[in-house]
C-alpha cells in the first residue's frame, strides 16, 4: 500500500502543479510550476518501474528544457504571462473543449476492458533499453540524432544576430529592423 500512497502523492503533485502552469498569470511562476509537474511525472515513471526514464526525465527535461524555458522568459523580458486583459471569450470555449476532451478520454479509459497482464516486481530496464536502442530501434535512434543536429543548427541560425548582407528577408524589411533596435 505504500506504493499506492507514493503514486497518489506524485499524481497529486503532477496535476496540481500542472494546474498552476495553466492558471498562473506570471510566466516565471508557470515555468517553475512546470518544473514540479515534470518532476511528478518522473516520479510516476519510477513508480511504473521505468527507472532509466525517470532519470532521463529529471535530467533532460528539468535540467535542460526548463533551463531553456527560463532563459527564454528572461530574455523576452516580459514577466507577465498575459499583459492584456484575459477575456473569457477564449477561456470558456477552451475550457469546455478541454473538459470534453478529458471526459472523452476518461470514458474510454473507464469503458474499455484493458487486456492486463499480471505485473511482477519491476526490473531494471537500462540494459534492455540500451540493447533495444542499438538493435531494433537503431534507425529511429540515428534519425533522432539527426533531428537534434538539425534543431541545433536551426536554432542557432534563428537566434543569430542579424547579418543583413546574407539575410535578404531582413534586408527587405527595414521597418522590422527598426523594431528590433528599440
Amino acid at each position: 500500500m505504500g506504493g499506492d500512497l507514493v503514486f497518489y502523492g506524485f499524481a497529486l503533485l503532477t496535476v496540481l502543479s500542472g494546474f498552476f502552469v495553466v492558471a498562473s498569470r506570471n510566466i516565471v511562476h508557470a515555468a517553475f510550476s512546470l518544473l514540479f509537474t515534470l518532476f511528478g511525472v518522473a516520479g510516476l515513471y519510477a513508480q511504473l518501474g521505468a527507472d532509466f526514464l525517470a532519470v532521463t526525465q529529471t535530467i533532460v527535461y528539468i535540467g535542460g528544457i526548463l533551463v531553456l524555458v527560463v532563459f527564454a522568459v528572461m530574455m523576452t523580458r516580459i514577466p507577465r504571462a498575459d499583459a492584456p486583459r484575459r477575456g473569457l471569450d477564449r477561456a470558456v470555449p477552451a475550457a469546455i473543449l478541454a473538459l470534453l476532451a478529458f471526459a472523452l478520454i476518461y470514458m474510454v479509459i473507464v469503458g474499455t476492458r484493458w487486456p492486463q497482464r499480471a505485473t511482477g516486481a519491476p526490473e531494471a530496464t537500462v540494459a534492455e533499453i540500451g540493447t533495444s536502442l542499438m538493435t531494433r530501434f537503431v534507425f529511429p535512434f540515428e534519425y533522432a540524432s539527426l533531428v537534434l543536429l538539425a534543431a541545433l543548427v536551426g536554432a542557432a541560425i534563428l537566434i543569430r544576430e542579424r547579418a543583413p548582407q546574407d539575410d535578404p528577408a531582413d534586408a527587405d524589411d527595414p521597418a522590422g529592423n527598426g523594431e528590433v533596435r528599440s
Partner: protein, 102 residues
C-alpha cells in the same frame, strides 16, 4: 485501491486536458510551449503505463525517450523562434504576430 493502469491513464488524461487548455488560451508563446510540454508528458506517461501493464517490454519506454528527445529539439527551435519573434515584433503575443494576414 491499488494504483492500476486506469489511474495512470487518468492522470495522463488530466495532464492532457490541462495542456490543451493552455495551448488554446495562452497568448504568450512561451506559455503556449509549456502547454505543449504538458501534452507530450501526458502522452509519454500513457506509453510507459501501457508498457508496464499491458506490453511488459521496454518499447513504451523507448518511445518516451524519443518523445523527450524530440521535445528537447522542439523546445530549442521553438524558443529560438520566440526570441526571433520578440526581436522582430517586440512581443511574444502570438495574436499580434499576424503580418502574413495583412
Amino acid at each position: 485501491m491499488t494504483a492500476g493502469l486506469e489511474h495512470y491513464l487518468t492522470v495522463s488524461a488530466l495532464l492532457f486536458g490541462l495542456g490543451l487548455y493552455a495551448v488554446l488560451t495562452r497568448r504568450n508563446a512561451v506559455a503556449l510551449l509549456m502547454g505543449v510540454e504538458l501534452i507530450l508528458n501526458a502522452a509519454s506517461l500513457n506509453f510507459v503505463a501501457f508498457a508496464r501493464f499491458v506490453d511488459g517490454g521496454v518499447d513504451g519506454h523507448i518511445v518516451a525517450i524519443f518523445v523527450i528527445v524530440l521535445a528537447a529539439a522542439e523546445a530549442a527551435v521553438a524558443l529560438a523562434i520566440v526570441l526571433a519573434m520578440f526581436r522582430n515584433f517586440g512581443t511574444v503575443n502570438v495574436d499580434s504576430v499576424n503580418r502574413l494576414k495583412r
